[in-house]
Subunit: 124 residues, 2 copies
DNA sequence: AACATATACTTAGCAAAACTAAATATATAC
DNA sequence: GTATATATTTAGTTTTGCTAAGTATATGTT
């Protein structure tokens, strides 16, 4: 009997995100720059609730991408005509990050197609 | 300057496999039982070389699946009319494993569809 | 006979990434 | 005053794929 605190489908779904979240963050930022908290909301909305990241998941991804030179950050404490309650760190994709995104999307497509091949085969 | 022993595309591709390998192994075994070494070959062949697992990757997956009751194993030292060089451990999917496979394929499909949505959008 | 290769399973230890959980801080609503 | 929404940070855990090495037998090559 397994000490199943987490149902196995949740554990599986968690593993599927490995690597992909980085690609999706890069993808969203390539549409337009955002700060961390906003990215969490955009991910939740555009995924229909399937991707509901906690801060502890998203921010380390951003730090990694910045360390790798894929994005840059800039503090935006104020906005013209409106004082922000809390300081925001706005992230923008670099050309290097754009290249990375393209490579990752190609890699993803090839991988997903491969997996689909396995799944669709029915024993004749 | 990063100590890039592994190119970032390889690192990304490695992460994409997380969880999926377990599903694919279950999928292959649901077609017909196999032993470990044969599974490595079937994965390599059916993926067009994209999935080329080392033993140290595959066998722990099999042990996990067996611990979880998704597959059973049986030693097959001899074959009718032909002596095998080395003993083989043949794995078979259990009804529980079959259920798990179905759930995982559904989860995969939903996730992959979601990711495709992100990738296909072009800035208008 | 010595050696390499293909077969076949096992296992120890490492790296990467998502997770939980908590801490910090400000503005607004009740 | 307390709760809630906003917003960032970080420590520690778990899962999983990876490298690398070890064990063992049969077959082919020199």
């Amino acid at each position: 009997m397994s000490d199943q605190t987490v149902p196995d489908t949740a554990r599986f779904a968690q593993q599927l995100k490995k690597g992909v979240l980085e690609m999706l963050v890069l993808r969203l930022l390539s549409e337009h720059p955002s700060h961390g908290y906003e990215l969490i909301q955009r991910l939740r909305k555009q995924s229909g609730g399937l991707l509901d990241l906690k801060e502890g998941t998203l921010y380390p991804i951003l730090y990694r991408l910045e360390d790798d030179g894929c994005i840059t950050s800039a503090w935006k404490n104020t906005e013209p005509g409106k004082q922000r309650p809390t300081p925001r760190k706005v992230y923008t994709v670099t050309p290097q990050g754009q290249q990375m995104l393209i490579r990752q999307m190609e890699t993803w497509r090839a991988f997903a197609t491969c997996v689909e091949e396995f799944c669709k085969e029915e024993t004749p």
